[in-house]
């Protein structure tokens, strides 16, 4: 990027607001989105050179409106009428409402695939360019451009109105929004392939967007829970890998390298969210992350509490991954054989059979139980089953550690 970081941050914050203003006034999401992208582009060129205008949001709104009008003019040849509208647009008229949340809801429209929801959210709400999003997901710009333009067409075809849905639909759409933010964060956090640098940006962007949703919906326990979960997870980032990029498991991480500031903020949010009436999956996962963050060493972890939280999570949002994690906690309390017994219920789950996570957890518990040969075999199978090079290296080194001396 050529723009100074301050301008870039400003644009990121302002473009969704400008876009929502335009969509509210003119409808037609697709045209407005293009116009705002162009206005933002003009700003990245002009502002660093000529200084940021006094009312940057008004400036962007005016420029974007003019672009949109130009476009409508050439589209419909209604020159005179649109020209009048164009002169009417002055910065002072910009309403001071923030419709960013409405925009986020529109981007997470149920007719879109998760991949399209993510791409559109990052562009329309995150203010990232198509090139930046393409780089983060390691696909060519043309691929990402096609995905975004198709998503916009779908929203148009669905005839969605620019308004916050109410009642049950609001609740459902908010879940979709949180899920998309969770996926963006995970993409940034797991760094399964490619350059880790751009992926860290994605995690930070997800946190920024989650903060924004939280600022607008501070009462929602799940929104608070998701933000807390992201902060507590992100705090461990630097301790999760060695300088060479190898994975360091939770119990071997140097906890002094965890980001204390993020942890304190996350812990505070967890406390607030758990005091609320309802309890959702993000809150529970945040509470589990908080339990880990609370322990000065891995040995001091309150495993009975972790296990209890997983038990509740399993009840309200059953998922084989949750059962898998509960088995680890159970093994810490009652010993590896109890954990292994719980794992056996997952063998009949076709989503899990042969999954590298199941193989590696079982290998880990076998190692603890003293079955070196069994652990060796499973670590090697797990390494073959994962598509992540970092995980492969980690599992191979584990296998090397328990290799039976034949």
């Amino acid at each position: 990027m050529t723009a100074a970081p301050a301008v870039e941050d400003l644009l990121r914050a302002l473009t969704p607001q400008v876009l929502s203003t335009l969509v509210r006034r003119h409808g037609q999401f697709e045209g407005c989105e293009d116009a705002v992208q162009e206005a933002a582009l003009a700003a990245t060129v002009q502002w660093p050179a000529q200084g940021v205008p006094d009312n940057p949001r008004g400036w962007l709104t005016t420029v974007a409106s003019r672009r949109l009008i130009d476009q409508m003019r050439s589209d419909h040849a209604r020159r005179e009428r649109e020209a009048t509208t164009a002169t009417e647009v002055v910065p002072e008229e910009v309403p001071d409402t923030d419709d960013t949340l409405v925009l986020l809801f529109l981007c997470c429209h149920p007719t879109l695939t998760a991949a399209s929801q993510i791409a559109l959210t990052l562009r329309a709400v995150g203010g990232l360019t198509t090139a930046e999003i393409a780089r983060a997901f390691l696909v060519p710009q043309a691929t990402m451009a096609a995905r975004i333009s198709r998503a916009k067409q779908r929203i148009k075809a669905a005839g969605s109105s620019f308004a916050l849905p109410d009642g049950a639909e609001h609740e459902e759409r908010l879940r979709a929004v949180l899920h998309v933010l969770y996926l963006i964060f995970n993409e940034g956090y797991t760094a399964s392939s490619g350059s880790a640098l751009h992926r860290a940006d994605l995690a930070r962007e997800a946190i920024r967007l989650a903060r924004m949703v939280h600022a607008q919906l501070p009462e929602d326990g799940e929104v608070t829970g998701l933000l807390a979960l992201m902060l507590l997870t992100h705090a461990r980032r630097t301790a999760r890998t060695t300088a060479a990029g190898d994975l360091v498991p939770l119990d071997e991480q140097d906890r002094t390298r965890w980001d204390r500031e993020l942890i304190d903020e996350g812990l505070e949010l967890v406390k607030v969210s758990l005091a609320g009436p309802a309890l959702g999956p993000y809150q529970l996962q945040a509470a589990i992350a908080a339990t880990h963050a609370d322990a000065a060493t891995a040995q001091e972890t309150n495993w009975p509490q972790v296990h209890a939280l997983y038990l509740i999570l399993e009840r309200i949002a059953p998922n084989p991954m949750v059962t898998l994690n509960r088995a680890i906690a159970l093994a810490e309390i009652q010993g590896p054989s109890a954990g292994l017994a719980l794992l056996s219920v997952l063998d009949s789950d076709e989503r899990m059979a042969g999954h590298h996570r199941l193989l590696s957890v079982r290998a880990h518990l076998l190692e603890k139980a003293g079955d070196a040969a069994g652990a060796y075999e499973l670590y090697r199978r797990a390494a073959k089953s994962t598509a992540s090079l970092a995980e492969q290296r980690y599992l191979q080194s584990r296998a090397g550690r328990v290799r039976p001396t034949a």
Binding site: T113, A114, A115, S116, F137, L138, V139, P140, Q141, A142, T143, M144, A145, A146, R147, I148, R150, S193, G194, A387, S388, L389
Partner: protein
């Protein structure tokens, strides 16, 4: 997730097809490429020349040894590939089933996830 869909061809099988059948394969690939482009799932596709045009290169004792012809002594050879970016393995398999080669006995289509990539993705 990125997947490589590789197409394994048997030159004898291809030669035995009628002109209409060959044209149908070409049209099928054309339509498939268009669909992948519009869904934003195509990264790149490349087709390879006939295996008889291949050369096998090795260096022995510091000297390059080059022999004409393909490396594998088999009936099937890599004919080309699609590199795609889609939601999951199920989707990749669903897309692969639309490739015309899958309907022809003796041609193989294989789907594998990409684990590491570097360099320019734009072909």
């Amino acid at each position: 997730m990125k997947f490589l869909i590789s197409m394994h061809i048997n030159p004898d099988v291809l030669d035995a097809l009628t002109d209409e059948e060959k044209a149908a394969i070409g049209d099928g690939h054309g339509a498939f490429i268009e669909a992948l482009k519009s869904s934003g799932e195509l990264i790149t596709t490349q087709a390879l020349v006939d295996p008889s045009q291949a050369a096998v290169v090795s260096v022995r004792g510091g000297r390059p040894v080059v022999t004409d012809g393909p490396f594998l002594e088999s009936k099937e050879y890599l004919g080309g590939f699609y590199l795609i970016d889609c939601e999951n393995k199920e989707r990749a398999i669903e897309l692969a089933t639309r490739i015309p080669d899958t309907a022809i006995e003796g041609l193989g289509v294989e789907v594998r996830q990409v684990m590491f990539a570097d360099g320019q993705l734009e072909a």
